[in-house]
């Protein structure tokens, strides 16, 4: 009878799918089996935009971490422990970051995560990692609030998440450093501030402004632009009539380049100083000759002046990666290496064996990590920020970035 058969069908479908569910797990188990006997395999997670507009930066991060892991395995950096990476694509979207964070937390072999690139993504990940005591080291987040709490500017610094670290230098260092450079080295006293309303730009301009006025400089005017806009003529006019002798720009080169171009086209030949968001060859390409005389600060010493950095560049080349390591390659390598160092410390403290749940121990060990990395000495202060405060000013001369000055921020 037809009615009964419907029941039969449903029963079959139900049991079939439930069986499938039950058995679907073999894949993930066997996937992480890894190599070698007697050696524990742990995973370093990577979260970065591997696709989309920012994929060049994200893939650079992934490859650099991969290089760190391969190097550690080759040199047997932590005896008895083999590292592997698991890279997840966050598409530069906070929602995806949240999903990735839970996934990495769920994989018990993950002992630390490198990433993310975007601070908006970091906001959704931090707490999930923190709840699981899983260390997260960002090579790129620069907003001070991530480590020092939302009220850092008013002086009440409070670390919100003990598991969050970063090798990137915060805006709180880069902005003031640029202010000192402009005021003392260049002798410019009147600034016009522009930011592009993204977290990075706003943060940078804020810290620059504080330091610059403290030094005795004056702010001739300030404007904010919408990221992605093309017509900056109102901003240019405001700058022109303000009588400022230079422009400080917080943001990235896609906005900075047309601004400096339109500025010079209007006959306002004052330099633009920006952060590491401007320090990119594309800036010069887009702005053309208008970029000559502009400056950008960037974190760390120039690659050619640090032997460790040169090794990294050479190894990266030898690694055969198809994409460049990008702006955050060095920091990513150092971030991964910091995790490896922490694991090493944990293992040696535990009689040469990795504890079964090493996450909390790794988190503790992070604060004592201290090694000479690609970007200089890597260690973390009480907020989880990098202690490395070395910065470099680059200037555009004849269409190329050239090193102007390397220094350490103090104060």
């Amino acid at each position: 009878m037809r009615n009964r058969s419907l029941l039969v069908l449903t029963a079959i479908a139900a049991t079939g799918t439930l069986t499938l569910t039950a058995c679907g797990s073999r894949a993930s188990n066997s996937g992480s089996g890894g190599s070698g006997s007697g050696s524990t395999t742990v995973t370093i997670g990577v979260d970065a935009p591997l696709t989309g507009s920012l994929s060049a930066l994200g893939i650079g991060i992934q490859n650099s971490v991969d290089l760190a892991v391969k190097t550690a395995n080759k040199t047997n950096e932590v005896p008895g422990v083999t590292f592997k990476i698991e890279a997840l694509d966050d598409k530069a979207a906070p929602q995806q970051g949240s999903l990735n964070a839970t996934q990495l937390v769920g994989d018990s072999s993950v002992v630390g995560v490198v990433g993310p690139l975007n601070s908006g993504v970091a906001l959704t990940m931090q707490k999930t990692f923190n709840n699981a005591n899983l260390v997260e080291v960002s090579p790129a987040n620069t907003n001070p609030a991530l480590t020092q709490g939302p009220n850092w500017q008013t002086g009440t610094k409070a670390r919100p998440f003990a598991s969050y670290f970063r090798t990137a230098t915060t805006d709180a260092i880069q902005g003031p450093f640029a202010a000192q450079f402009a005021f003392s080295t260049l002798g410019k006293k009147k600034v016009f501030l522009v930011d592009n309303k993204d977290a990075y730009g706003v943060g940078l301009v804020g810290t620059f402004k504080d330091e610059f006025t403290k030094l005795g400089g004056t702010v001739a005017g300030q404007d904010h632009v919408t990221s992605g806009a093309s017509d900056f003529s109102s901003t240019v006019n405001a700058i022109k009539s303000s009588g400022a002798d230079f422009v400080y720009f917080g943001g990235e080169y896609p906005d900075a380049a047309p601004l400096t171009k339109q500025l010079k086209a209007q006959g306002v030949n004052i330099p633009m100083i920006g952060g590491d968001g401007n320090y990119d060859p594309t800036y010069i390409k887009l702005a053309g000759t208008a970029s000559n005389g502009d400056f950008a600060t960037s974190v760390g010493a120039p690659v050619e002046s640090l032997p460790s950095a040169q090794t990294f560049v050479a190894n990266y080349k030898a690694g055969g990666y198809s994409q460049a390591y990008g702006a955050y390659g060095g920091y990513s390598y150092d971030s991964a290496w910091a995790i490896i160092e922490a694991v090493k410390a944990v293992v040696s403290a535990n009689n040469g064996k990795l504890p079964s749940d090493p996450r909390q121990a790794v988190e503790k060990a992070m604060s004592n990590v201290n090694f000479s990395g690609v970007t200089g000495t890597v260690s973390f202060d009480q907020y989880g920020d990098a202690t490395n405060k070395q910065l470099t000013v680059y200037g555009v001369k004849n269409g190329v970035w050239t090193t102007i000055k390397t220094g350490t921020f103090s104060g």
Binding site: M1, R2, A14, L20, G24, K91, Q96, L99, T124
Partner: protein, 597 residues
């Protein structure tokens, strides 16, 4: 009841099978193929365990082999139905032969997908073992046999879709006699369990290949069950037990986190809650788009209004107002504020011209993000903390239940995201209730009337402006409501989330797609559309660079070829129930309004 319908209206004489075989031989070939296909899943398909799922094991299936196995069994099942096997007759009221063809092709598709994936990823056909070849050949054998089966169903002439129509269309079905109530209840429960199982399996697929294989087979199976008439039968039964079915569906959904165990449980619960937020928001949009026929292209901004409102009164550090509302008050406030924005935006726009709304909402979506970015204390009053966003939004605590930590219920333990999943499920239930009840009321009829023909609706005494504004504001309110949960799930909120077309849901374009692709004007359409859409983009991340492109093309193609979406217009069901008192407002069909020309 007057039965004006025919079981098989004058269909053209069924065409001949593609492969001329005696029926018995065709059945035998199909059966052999199907059995072999299923059996081949127990063999090793490849040498290397490099391919995800480890298909090297002989003795039991793994990963994608399970999909092939299921495909083979389903083919066999419907072949037996067509053969008239005892106890199975009537399983395919719309015809078993066409169904068998679809399933055989589906099984072959997944199998060959797997084989090709192995060859491509591991580099060459040499990576396939004999077992793999057996599977491939067997699945093709089943297809060949199925193509020799006599053809049933309706075969309309001269359609462009060509090969897609080979299985024929399902004939109109006479409603079946009701079964004993106990049996029917059993069927309802089992159906829900099966749906939960399929969904949970799909969410839990841990690598893209498995998800793709799963999707292929699920797609073909859904087509087959629609063709066989089983969906129609199930629909009838569900209709008879409407309350049980809808309550049961929510209970089944609520059980989802409990089906998730192990390390990926929280990740899957997070995926689940994200899908729910996306789906619930899409359902709210469906009131605006599907019922009232208004195009809202900045809908995610209303989600944002709700989310920011909730974040501002959540007591998160660093917000402009240092207050902490209880969640019910925050949720209500978020919904109301969002609704007010809806009215402010709709009032000047809807009065003018319907299609201005589309561009005004598109503008609003962009402006919302820009305004939120600017309200940071330097380029505007500090309300939203600008681009840095509001972080560290505290977890909810309702009546002592802390959403931030894991809870155990007997042998089960569910974590933070599962807690929020259950909360969001409740919100979804509310939104479903609001949607379906308002749709089947004087208000909903007025909306649909406006959508169908505004002049005629006005002539029936409907105040077009007022009802359009009502729909728009209600949609905004529901999105705001969803937003209040959204912000807590994600701990934080930043302006960049609220884009017209961004990389991940929710954004306005994806919401619209979930509605359009799922089925405008239906309850289940946006839910299915949203789940499918979310899983697609989450699981097949290698497609991400082409995601928006595919998405744009999908919109165009759907509007061109299937404007009613994937959930078929169940209007026809109504024709069986002429005393029917309640019926959902189903989506528009590609009607040509030539009468007016």
């Amino acid at each position: 009841m007057t039965d004006t319908l025919q079981i098989r209206p004058e269909a053209a004489a069924a065409p001949k099978p593609a492969i001329p075989l005696p029926t018995a031989a065709a059945r035998a070939v199909t059966a052999a193929g199907a059995v072999l296909t299923a059996a081949s899943a127990f063999l090793s398909w490849t040498y290397s365990s490099q391919f995800p799922g480890d298909l090297t094991v002989t003795g039991y299936p793994g990963g994608l082999q399970w999909i092939t196995f299921t495909g083979g069994l389903l083919t066999l099942l419907y072949l037996l139905v067509g053969y008239g096997a005892p106890g199975l007759r009537g399983l395919a009221p719309g015809g078993a032969e066409g169904t068998t063809v679809i399933l055989a092709v589906g099984a072959a598709a997944t199998t060959w997908f797997t084989l090709i994936a192995i060859s491509v990823e591991l580099g060459g056909l040499a990576n396939l073992t004999t077992g793999g070849w057996v599977a491939g050949v067997a699945s093709l054998l089943a297809v060949a046999g199925a193509l020799g089966l006599p053809r049933d169903g309706q075969h309309p002439q001269g359609n462009r879709l060509g090969v897609l129509l080979y299985p024929g269309k399902r004939p109109e079905l006479r409603p079946a006699e009701p079964m004993p109530a106990v049996l029917e209840v059993g069927v309802v429960l089992l159906t829900l369990a099966a749906a939960l199982g399929v969904f949970a399996y799909g969410v839990d697929t841990s690598y893209a290949e498995l998800f793709a294989g799963f999707l292929i087979l699920t797609g073909f199976a859904a087509w087959a069950l629609n063709r066989s008439g089983d969906f129609a039968r199930l629909g009838e039964i569900m209709q008879r037990h409407r309350v049980l079915a809808s309550v049961g569906a929510f209970v089944a959904a609520g059980l989802f986190p409990f089906t998730q165990t192990g390390g990926s449980a929280e990740a899957n619960a997070n995926l689940g809650v994200s899908i729910l937020i996306f789906a619930a928001t899409a359902l709210g949009l469906n009131i605006v788009v599907g019922l009232a026929g208004l195009l809202d292209l900045g809908y995610v901004a209303f989600l944002g209004v709700g989310a920011y409102t909730a974040a501002l009164v959540s007591g998160a550090a660093g917000t402009a107002f240092n207050v902490q509302f209880p969640f019910w008050a925050a949720a209500l406030l978020g919904a109301v504020v969002s609704g007010i924005f809806g009215v402010l935006l709709g009032a000047p726009t809807l009065r003018v011209r319907g299609d201005y709304l589309a561009i005004v909402t598109l503008g609003f979506g962009e402006i919302f993000r820009i305004v939120v970015q600017n309200l940071d204390g330097t380029s505007g009053p500090n309300v939203t903390n600008g681009a840095i966003g509001i972080s560290n939004v505290p977890d909810l605590n309702i009546l002592g239940f802390d959403f931030g930590s894991a809870h155990s219920f007997g042998p089960f333990s569910i974590g933070r995201f599962a807690n929020y999943f259950e909360l969001m499920l409740l919100f979804t239930a509310i939104i479903v209730l609001v949607f379906s009840r308002s749709a089947n009321s004087r208000i909903g009829r007025a909306w649909v009337a406006i959508r169908e023909d505004e002049t005629a609706a006005t002539a029936m005494g409907i105040n077009g402006f007022r009802f359009k504004l009502l729909a728009f504001a209600l949609g905004a309110t529901l999105a705001g409501l969803a937003g209040t949960v959204f912000v807590h799930v994600n701990y934080s909120i930043v302006p960049d989330t609220f884009q017209f077309a961004g990389p991940t849901p929710p954004n306005s374009a994806f919401l619209l797609a979930a509605v359009v692709i799922g089925g405008m004007g239906t309850v289940s359409g946006p839910l299915v559309g949203a789940s499918l859409f979310f899983l697609l983009q989450a699981k097949l991340s290698f497609l991400h660079d082409y995601q928006l492109l595919l998405f744009g093309l999908t919109l165009i193609l759907f509007m061109r070829f299937r404007p009613e979406g994937i959930i078929p217009n169940r209007r026809r069901q109504l024709e069986f129930h002429e005393s029917q008192t309640e019926g959902g407002q189903e989506g528009p069909t590609p009607e040509l309004r030539t009468a007016e020309a």
